[in-house]
């Protein structure tokens, strides 16, 4: 079953993609054309499903076990997932705290997540990198960076 998994995943992607093709509106003027907005998506869904089917039926032809052999421990999973949660968290606090503070916060949390415990590193790296990035983007390159809703309230 493990060997057939790549093929089955491809079929799943093709099916999810195909379910959305019906929702594409075809303008009346284009309906009689050979190429409509649906043509390429239909071809791509069919092609991916076909490749998925081949990989599912003949998994021996599909390649090696490769990365499937890698089995991260619970700590690895937790840190990997934690890093992605941090990225999502950064997206949610960005508008509220602004780029400078959010950057420092995500760096601090990232360092802590990856087992950095030296107080000097935990404080100095986030502050210096966030400040350097802000200076580079905002001051040197002149890009507008949102200062953060929290700090704009009092203005």
């Amino acid at each position: 079953m493990k060997a057939r998994l790549p093929g089955l995943v491809l079929i799943l992607i093709a099916v999810i993609y195909a379910t959305q093709i019906g929702a594409i509106a075809v303008p009346a003027a284009d309906a009689a054309e050979v190429m409509t907005p649906r043509t390429l998506p239909v071809l791509l869904a069919a092609l991916l499903a076909l490749i998925g089917l081949i990989l599912a039926v003949w998994p021996g032809n599909a390649g090696t076990e490769g990365s499937l052999a890698i089995k991260p421990g619970p700590v690895g999973w937790m840190k990997g997932a934690g890093l992605l949660f941090l990225a999502v968290g950064f997206a949610f606090v960005l508008d509220f705290f602004g780029v400078l503070v959010s950057s420092a916060l995500v760096l601090f949390a990232g360092l802590f997540l990856l087992d950095v415990r030296r107080p000097l590193v935990l404080v100095a790296v986030p502050l210096s990198v966030a400040l350097a990035l802000w200076l580079l983007l905002s001051v040197i390159l002149g890009i507008y960076l949102h200062p953060g809703d929290l700090w704009l309230r009092d203005v």
């Binding site: 490749i51 390649g63 966030a130």
Partner: protein, 501 residues
């Protein structure tokens, strides 16, 4: 050609563009040295910065980062047996044993000289080959472009690692699927947006590049427990970098032949620096035979020179299809293609005519870049090596922040970061299932253009397929595509026959 060369020299030798070469080479070397972050990631990280530059300076910067990263990748391979990028993976075979024998400086110096000579010789070849190919490609029309894009996608998938060909095709298709998300360029109809307004403009190229390369790679490094604490990297002394006359005599012919080989492999769409380095190592091992002392894999200096020379020559060679046909020769040049498009340039034969300053200045900057790599980096090797002592748990959050801010700065929409994380999860799943991601990126970039050209072709030929045999360029490329499709089958049969005997 000489007129173009003059334009290139005038553009590339401005103080600002020389600075861009220096910044690119240094940044690329630094990022390339970091295990897990290869040229593709290095170039992707430069895209947000390149938006504020003019197209010529942006491409010069990214080209510098590209061959700087290819050069820098060897440092981590030699010093800590952790290749900075896939193209320098083969350097670990002999480079790391040399470092263990106390010859780290020697290995780094050989890698530096091999990269410099390989890069410079292939820049000369690029100077001659690129304009010639551009003139031929100027006669191309929509049907030719369509078939050429199919050929490029087929080549990338067909030249995937052994046993991954079908998976390569699947990823090219998934990439094209991602390209169809958003408003259809011809009819203006929203497609495959799942009812989300955030997807109405489709995915940005940077978002896909960061998600599939940078962020996914970082999470995989953590999952696989490859986090390097950096505490076991030995300091390198300056005097270790000198080569003896015998060593020069030994590696000179190796560098010569693998410069040519690397360039030719790099020119093939899809082959790239990794294929070139593995191919060169295998060939050099075969040429030298069993007489090599020390043996290959035990610290032979030729085992460092051959792949390092070939991967830099191939990096330069991969600019030929990018600049002249608009078909990237590797995953990294695929990212550069996207960046150029974001700058309003369409790489291909018209680039040579419409933007000669960009076309020629990039080629000229390569000579400067290779020289700069040697002049800046050779004396800096002992200091650069110290950067590997920065623990990855400290470096990784910083690199992640670069990725997040890079994606945010494209649209100033924080939701793009959430979409990037979702695509990262899918990319990790695909990597876990051993799918190659370079064809996905190429499929994403070429998908839109492929559809546009197919649409125009269908209008021109009234929905028929006669263009495939009526146009000679189409026919030649179609036959080449069929050969690429059949190549894995042929090589399998050829491999099976001797085994049966």
């Amino acid at each position: 050609m000489f007129e173009g060369l003059d334009i290139g020299i005038q553009t590339a030798f401005t103080p600002f563009n020389i600075l861009m070469v220096a910044v690119g080479c240094f940044t690329g070397t630094f990022i390339g040295m970091l295990p897990g972050l290869g040229p593709a990631t290095a170039v992707a990280l430069m895209i947000p910065m390149s938006y504020s530059l003019d197209p010529a300076a942006a491409l010069i910067l990214m080209a510098g980062v590209y061959y700087g990263a290819a050069f820098g990748g060897s440092t981590a391979s030699i010093l800590i047996n952790a290749p900075g990028c896939s193209s320098s993976a083969v350097t670990t075979f002999d480079g790391y044993p040399m470092a263990q024998q106390g010859r780290a400086g020697k290995a780094l110096a050989v890698a530096a000289w091999a990269s410099f000579i390989g890069g410079t010789l292939s820049a000369f070849a690029l100077l001659i080959a690129a304009p010639l190919l551009s003139q031929v490609a100027l006669n191309f029309q929509s049907p030719d472009y369509f078939v050429m894009m199919v050929m490029g996608l087929t080549a990338v998938a067909a030249l995937s690692a052994q046993g991954q060909v079908l998976r390569g095709y699947a990823m090219a298709v998934v990439g094209m699927m991602l390209a169809t998300v958003g408003t259809d360029g011809t009819s203006g109809v929203p497609r495959l947006t799942f009812g989300q307004l955030d997807l109405i403009d489709g995915f940005s190229f940077l978002l896909i590049a960061m998600a599939t390369y940078a962020l996914a790679e970082m999470v995989l490094v953590i999952l696989e427990g490859r986090l390097n604490p950096g505490d076991h990297v030995r300091a390198t002394e300056m005097r270790e970098l000198m080569l003896s006359r015998d060593e020069v005599r030994d590696v000179a012919p190796v560098i010569g032949r693998h410069s040519i080989l690397g360039f030719l492999v790099g020119v093939l769409p899809g082959a790239g620096a990794t294929v070139a380095s593995f191919f060169s190592y295998a060939l050099e091992k075969k040429i030298t035979g069993d007489s090599a002392r020390p043996a290959f894999g035990e610290g032979n200096v030729r085992g460092v020179a051959a792949p390092e020379c070939a991967n830099n020559a191939a990096s330069t060679g991969s600019f030929v299809p990018l600049l002249t046909l608009g078909i990237p020769g590797s995953g990294t040049t695929a990212i550069m293609l996207g960046a150029l498009i974001a700058h309003g340039l369409q790489p291909g034969p018209r680039l040579y005519v419409d933007h000669p300053d960009v076309f020629w200045s990039v080629i000229v900057s390569m000579f400067l870049g290779n020289l700069m790599l040697l002049c800046i980096n050779l004396p800096m090797i002992p200091w650069l090596a110290r950067l590997l002592r920065i623990p990855q748990p400290v470096l990784m959050p910083v690199v992640m922040l670069f990725c997040l801010l890079g994606v945010y700065l494209v649209s100033f929409d924080a939701m793009d970061i959430v979409i990037m994380v979702i695509i990262t999860l899918v990319a990790i799943l695909l990597r876990w299932l051993d799918f190659p991601l370079a064809p996905l990126l190429l499929g994403f970039i070429l998908g839109g253009y492929l559809e546009d050209n197919l649409q125009r072709t269908m209008i021109l030929y009234d929905g028929g397929l006669s263009f495939l045999w009526e146009r000679s360029a189409c026919l030649v490329m179609l036959l080449f595509t069929v050969a690429l499709l059949l190549w894995p089958l042929i090589s399998r049969v050829r491999g099976a026959v001797p085994a049966e005997r």
